[in-house]
């Protein structure tokens, strides 16, 4: 049997028996993707229910205009509770008991009767998101009422109702990708998949060489007739497998959650899941060189470090370098950069962008080729670097 495979098999066996590594390869990716689905599912389904939240109102005198508006709010799904005064409303907003309070005063009916505008004061804490959502619903209800009032006026003046909106945009969506995925998933999933490709391997990297130095087991390997290059590559491929398995775990979790068809996840999957078999294959092809690059760089760091502690310090710093382009992939859709091929020249970000595009069913062949090509070159350079470090005489006792 090839000695490199012997080393690979031994490393895989040890990794799979290590709880920490199993957690980074399977539990972590599965849990984080699952948690993301659950949190976003809950958030999205609660946004739908936001109209059912309670708003407060100060109503000194009930009249037709006030009651009509309150009815419109209740029709929109809101519950309206009365408060005695503005001072009381402000105090309760400060305490967090009230999110938004409308002060109807006494002039609404009179103003509307004499065709004069009326401003309805709304008291709220601007840092409270739910208050902002409630304000949006109120403004929507008010806009519907405005339309009714203005169309009555237009009728009296014999003006065409269509002139209520003299200018408007007519949306004509052009379908670019084959499929659709929720916008939040498109932003978050590439980040999670790339991050787990790194963390899946990072958990065992420090142990693999620096740990062996510390325990002095590395010496027994170096004294064996196996070439150091084969030992280094055996370890490197094992680490790349760990990285790949972590990625596969996170992708598999996406499909599991999609197939569960849970009620609270419906808002997330109302456009379906953009990821199909082609998408998965594209993601895996783009990630192979990335995982090899991660594994090679991690082995090099572990070979350079004197002990596991030193290795972990370097690895923690290295993880920041991986996180930054991965994090940028979350907001790339808001920039013109997403359309530029330059993205595919930036390691890590290019893989994240290929994943992002695969989620919306877009396959840019040149971009995918650039990602795979640049990733392969980087992986080969990092591999050569790690083998070189492993071949150094000072690997056992760097001064």
């Amino acid at each position: 049997m090839n000695p490199m495979f012997t080393v690979y098999r031994k490393e895989m066996r040890e990794m799979l028996r290590d709880k920490r590594v199993r957690s980074a390869m399977f539990v972590g990716p599965i849990f984080s993707v699952a948690l993301m689905f659950m949190l976003f599912g809950l958030i999205f389904s609660s946004i739908g229910k936001a109209t059912k939240t309670t708003v407060h109102a100060i109503i000194p005198k009930h009249d037709a205009a006030t009651d009509g508006f309150i009815k419109a709010l209740e029709k929109g799904g809101m519950k309206v509770e009365e408060l005695p005064s503005v001072a009381d409303a402000e105090a309760k907003i400060k305490k967090g008991d009230v999110r938004l309070a409308l002060d109807f005063g006494e002039g609404m009916e009179a103003a509307l009767g004499s065709n004069k505008p009326f401003k309805l004061p709304a008291y709220f804490d601007p840092s409270e998101q739910k208050a902002q959502i409630a304000l949006g619903v109120i403004e929507k209800s008010m806009s519907a009422m405005n339309e009714v009032i203005v169309s009555k006026l237009f009728e009296e003046k014999q003006i065409d109702k269509a002139m209520l909106k003299p200018l408007s945009v007519e949306r004509k969506e052009v379908k670019v990708g084959d499929t659709n995925t929720n916008e939040f998933l498109v932003q978050l999933l590439p980040y999670l998949i790339v991050i787990w490709a790194f963390y899946g391997a990072m958990s065992s990297a420090s142990d693999m060489v620096a740990g062996e130095k510390e325990r002095q087991t590395l010496e027994t390997l170096l004294i064996s007739p196996v070439a150091r290059r084969e030992v280094a590559l055996g370890k490197l491929f094992a680490l790349a497998t760990a990285s790949f398995l972590a990625t596969a775990s996170s992708i598999a979790t996406i499909f599991v959650f999609y197939s569960l068809k849970l009620d609270f996840l419906k808002p997330l999957f109302e456009d379906g899941l953009g990821l199909n078999l082609t998408g998965v294959l594209v993601i895996l092809v783009a990630l192979v060189p990335t995982t090899m690059f991660f594994a090679s760089a991690l082995i090099a760091i572990s070979s350079f470090a004197r002990n596991t502690r030193e290795a972990q310090t370097y690895l923690a710093q290295g993880s920041i370098l991986v996180m930054l382009p991965a994090m940028f992939s979350q907001i790339i859709g808001f920039t013109d950069f997403a359309q530029s091929r330059v993205v595919y020249a930036i390691p890590i970000l290019n893989a994240a962008n290929v994943i992002r595009n695969a989620l919306i069913g877009k396959y840019d062949t040149v971009g995918i080729a650039m990602t795979v090509g640049i990733g392969t070159v980087l992986a080969l350079v990092a591999m050569a670097w790690s083998v070189r470090l492993f071949n150094r005489e000072t690997i056992l006792n760097r001064i």
Binding site: T6, E14, R17, T220, S224, P225, V226, L396, I399
Partner: protein, 249 residues
């Protein structure tokens, strides 16, 4: 057979400058012989063994292990040697049987040959009762037995022992020494590094005293005693390395 000719190892330490870890070491160890490498901590014993194991490249000089040149034929040298140190750990998440099979495969053993070799060592070193449990759960003594088995898996002609009894209790130390003696009887060439005089007196046929990287004297125990005029090996060693003179000065 191990033979060295003016073997030296120098390296640069940013704090200490140019360090001469081993200087002009010339000696010979023959099959069926235990050669004791005697010296205090940091004397250069481990550096010398690491050069002979091809982990370190000599700065100058030559050496042959089992008639293979350590610089020109490192793979053949590594195939011929077994190395054991008390500080070498085992893979905690593997069983002794798995570790033996792993190293056996690295040394080119396969199939039935590998299995029979592993079974033989498990039986010979009395590892059977814990051969399939994880090494993390083993006692120090049990781990050391597995370490010995690992060293012997490919039946090497030359054995290097680097302070193999350090940290072991009296009973286990006796076991280790018994295995070393058994291997001598099998005609192996053995280099045994230690600073424990009683072990040297029991095991070694030939002694090399090393101090600050230089071989200060070598010969049989009796020859060293006669050379220094001392009646104990400890005093003879201190005399050879110049410790008495340093104290007097």
């Amino acid at each position: 057979m191990v033979r060295t000719d003016s073997l030296s190892k120098h390296f640069f330490d940013p704090k200490r400058g140019d360090v001469r870890a081993v200087e002009d070491a010339t000696f010979e160890a023959r099959p069926g012989q235990i050669v004791g490498l005697l010296g205090k901590n940091g004397a250069g014993k481990s550096t010398l063994l690491r050069m002979l194991s091809t982990v370190l490249t000599p700065s100058s000089g030559q050496a042959w292990v089992n008639d293979y040149d350590i610089v020109k034929e490192p793979t053949e040298v590594r195939r011929s040697i077994g190395f054991m140190s008390s500080s070498t750990a085992l893979y905690g998440r593997m069983s002794p049987r798995e570790i033996l099979a792993y190293f056996g495969e690295l040394y080119g053993l396969q199939g039935a040959t590998l299995k029979s070799k592993v079974d033989d060592l498990i039986s010979r070193l009395d590892i059977g009762s814990y051969a399939d449990g994880l090494c993390d759960k083993l006692s120090t003594g049990q781990k050391q037995r597995v370490n010995i088995a690992r060293t012997l898996i490919h039946d090497p002609q030359v054995l290097f022992f680097d302070e193999p009894t350090s940290g072991l209790d009296v009973v286990m130390s006796q076991d280790v020494m018994r295995f070393v003696e058994e291997e001598r009887e099998r005609g192996k060439t053995i280099i045994y590094c230690t600073h424990i005089m009683s072990e040297v007196e029991r095991l070694c046929d030939h002694i090399i005293c090393i101090h600050d990287g230089e071989l200060k004297g070598q010969g049989s125990i009796e020859a060293l005693k006669a050379l220094t005029g001392e009646n104990s090996l400890e005093k003879a060693f201190l005399n050879v390395v110049g410790y008495n003179r340093e104290v007097m000065a």
